[in-house]
Symmetry: C2
Subunit: 126 residues, 2 copies
Amino acid sequence: MKEKELRRSLAVLPIGTVMKLTDLSARQIRYYEEQDLITPDRNEGNRRMFSLNDVDRLLEIKDYLADGINMAGIKEIYALQKQRAQQKQADLDKPLTDKDVRRILHDEFLNLGRFQSDKGPNYPTH
Amino acid sequence: MKEKELRRSLAVLPIGTVMKLTDLSARQIRYYEEQDLITPDRNEGNRRMFSLNDVDRLLEIKDYLADGINMAGIKEIYALQKQRAQQKQADLDKPLTDKDVRRILHDEFLNLGRFQSDKGPNYPTH
DNA sequence: TAATTCGTGTGACGTTTTCTGACATGTGTG
DNA sequence: CACACATGTCAGAAAACGTCACACGAATTA
């Protein structure tokens, strides 16, 4: 699936195409870039070039706005998402700590009897 | 999979992008269009707009040319492909004729003993 | 109420991209 | 040699896009 990811992040679309695809005005798209919600590439002639991922994000932004969320809110949403993704990557990179191992074992013990009787131990989950 | 087909045939790429994606010159791309090897859309301003399918085909054309096949040959290849595709569609559309049914039954008979002994009847397949 | 902020529209003006059409060129082929 | 093929190149015009500035209505704040 690495190739598909690459394709989706290839910056190949000019703003005119993106306008049609998203039904947003050039002004809107440029403003969202100004607000760092998207960061399209530039070609040699300084034209913005967008990827399919950019288009997806623009459609998301449109939805958030329609839901009454403002720029600041949307920025926060993406900041949280980014944070979460980075944490996830860090988790994959680093081996488990002793503390993690204990927690996992603990959780497994908690779940041991869970589906054996209707009224199990019912420990609190944390 | 209908959606994917649609995406691949959406004309969203300007010629500049296609040039980079295919490493062909604008002159070459326009010439191949002139030869009816591709038929990109036009936007309201008369600019050519290409789909991913167009890009694929251009890469194919490039390969054929590299193999020493000339325009006429490539045209013929695509004409045959089109013909085959149309026939396939026609087959799907029309019910089987009596002749088809007889042929199919015949083939099935031929295949009946095929995998039962190492040295089967070994009839010619046609 | 007056001032400010937010998200967007609009216009001016300059640069880049693309269009068509014409002519040039190198490489084969009859 | 003359010709066809595939491509390069140039010119002039039109379309698309860039930035910058100003405007505006709705919401917020002083």
